[in-house]
Amino acid sequence: MWYLCVFFHRLLEYRKSEFESLAGLFEGRGGATALEWRLPEDHHPDSPFHFVNLPSDELAVSIASRSILVKGIYELWGEGGSFEELEESIKSYPDDRKLPYISPGSTFKITVESFGKAISSEEQKDRMHKLEFISFKGRVNLKNPDHRFCLMANNDYGSNNGLPSAVQMRMFFGRELGGADRKILQTYELKSRKYLGPTAMDAEIAFLMANHAQVKPGKLVYDPFVGTGSILVAASHFGAMTMGADIDIRVVRDGRGPECNVWSNFKQYGLPMPISLLRADNNLPPWRSGLKEIFDAIICDPPYGVRAGGRKSGGRKLLKGVIGPYTVPDDKRTDHIPSTAPYSLVECVHDLLDLGAKMLVMGGRLVYFYPILRDEGSGEPTFPEHPCFEMIATCEQILSYRYSRVLVTMVKVAPYTEDIESAARAQHLEFRENHNKWMEDGNLHSAVFSPVDDVNVNGSGEKFSSKPKYRGKYV
């Protein structure tokens, strides 16, 4: 059955993939879930109004109430380019679908909304009264109605104010099945979080990551770059068992005192504590050799070297490897603080995919952010690939003029074989031997922070003015 799905007008690329991930979650499918989507007449693909084909009301309700970006899912009773068309359309909608919801004894509420233009309360009332031809027999209850209805319109706003280019006005009337509970975003907002780091993940994005990863109770979720635990907090909210590692022991062990650390971030919301936090290096993970297929999802925000750089073990040895291997004197072995070397993004992502391929269960998901430079000449961005993984979604979020981050969702579709393992080991050694070469290639920091003139070859300063008016992915 076709439903009208109305999204919040933000994080545009995340909306459908979140929806499809949740559909897979509630139908018990780990792999890609492709739903049938349809746009209303004349609508831009970035419009908040979409039609989606779902097998049942129950599924629609489950998806809507778990999602972050679904404003509402509606059983559409009618639509049209004008009130006359809308009335015609609602009247022709079968009575047996309508009667159960407008019967005497039930309570209802109608809201009037418009996209792209604010409408006054008089006009709202006016529009509501035009619906009187529907014989509502129940009583109005604004606080806790049995049935909710919504009259929506996307207005003919004409001028471009950051929204998709103008379309014709279209009205929709439908019965609401459910919508996102955005109150959790207030509960978990970072400004009330006790322990924060410079790259703590925003609550909304963290929940979106957890939804893309199909987190649910009883699942084990791992974050190899746990930091202050902001991603695991979201996973834990949805009932997952969590585990995190970080190379910086001050962050995972000490925090800012006994009541301000990663544990306290879970305690603050009454969430179950992570199964474990440990200090480990993603480059040399300490997992026992026979251990595999244990995590249901791996969710992380790897260090890209823009706001925070990655580190890996073997610092002095790697840096001074030319002169001779570095040995820790025997009397200094206890309490020795090992030095670390910078960790290039390419190597970090290689290790992440290798870890996921080995440690994820079949059908398990790897969800992580991958940075890309927004260089107009470079064409379509390429993303990491791995024989064990199928790419499900890439959702871009623009961070600055120069770069954006893309939420990559991958699903494990093939087992981790010995061939893949030995290839990964060879690649690991290659990174180690040519450490300096790999550090220079793809240094995102210098590309993001280089002076404007270096990038702008013509020197005309046109680049900034050529920014498209339509904000698209900025919202």
């Binding site: 109770p217 936090l277 026992r288 050799s289 251990l291």
Partner: protein, 197 residues
């Protein structure tokens, strides 16, 4: 008296919230609350000065003496121990890591049958049995098979060993080289030295 030196609270002075949380349900609660009150207003130097009954009796083994019901904070569990190995370069047999326990705590954790059943097939049973014995818990059977998962009693024991025994301070020791990976505040430090990479 420094609470940390006393070794029974494990956390720096002044964390009265966690102290209260941990004392919940013990019969000395009111006595302790009074002491904490004195401590907070500065009349006493320690919140535990009069809580003599909470000290372990001499008949207990050293490990059992260190085990205490701990409601505040979670530390390293045996599930984690079961997943870790020594990954020092050249070490072929780094699993299971031996446990040197300085401080062990127990914490009640919500029981999740599905999770336990999922984990059962992944866990190295022998290593789990040995590790739980090192921490003073001897109830686990020597060997286990999937059919035992139908028994609620077995699941409870498995749950307790896997998730409720926590190593707070101590070390994990590489069975081949004897290298110690310290565990402090419940966080295992698995980072390798430069020459072990």
């Amino acid at each position: 008296m420094d609470l940390k030196e006393e070794g029974r609270w494990g956390e720096p002075k002044g964390s009265s919230v966690s102290i209260l949380a941990r004392l919940e349900g013990t019969e000395e609660r009111s006595c302790c609350l009074f002491n904490i009150f004195l401590y907070l207003v500065g009349l006493s130097t320690s919140p535990s000065a009069f809580c003599l009954r909470r000290r372990p009796t001499p008949s207990q083994t050293p490990i059992a003496a260190a085990v205490q019901l701990h409601r505040g904070v979670v530390r390293m569990r045996l599930l984690t121990h079961n997943m870790l190995s020594s990954n020092i370069k050249g070490v072929t047999n780094g699993f299971p890591l031996l446990i040197e326990a300085v401080k062990v705590v127990e914490k009640e954790v919500d029981f999740n049958e599905d999770f336990l059943k999922n984990m059962f097939v992944k866990v190295e049973w022998k290593a789990l049995v040995e590790a739980s014995r090192t921490l003073g818990y001897t109830e686990l059977p020597e060997s286990a098979e999937a059919s035992m998962l139908d028994s609620d009693e077995f699941l409870r024991k498995f749950h307790h060993a896997l998730l409720e025994l926590h190593l707070e301070d101590g070390a994990l020791v590489c069975p081949e080289t004897g290298r110690k990976f310290p565990v402090s505040k419940g966080i295992p430090n698995m980072l390798l030295h430069e020459d072990e990479v």
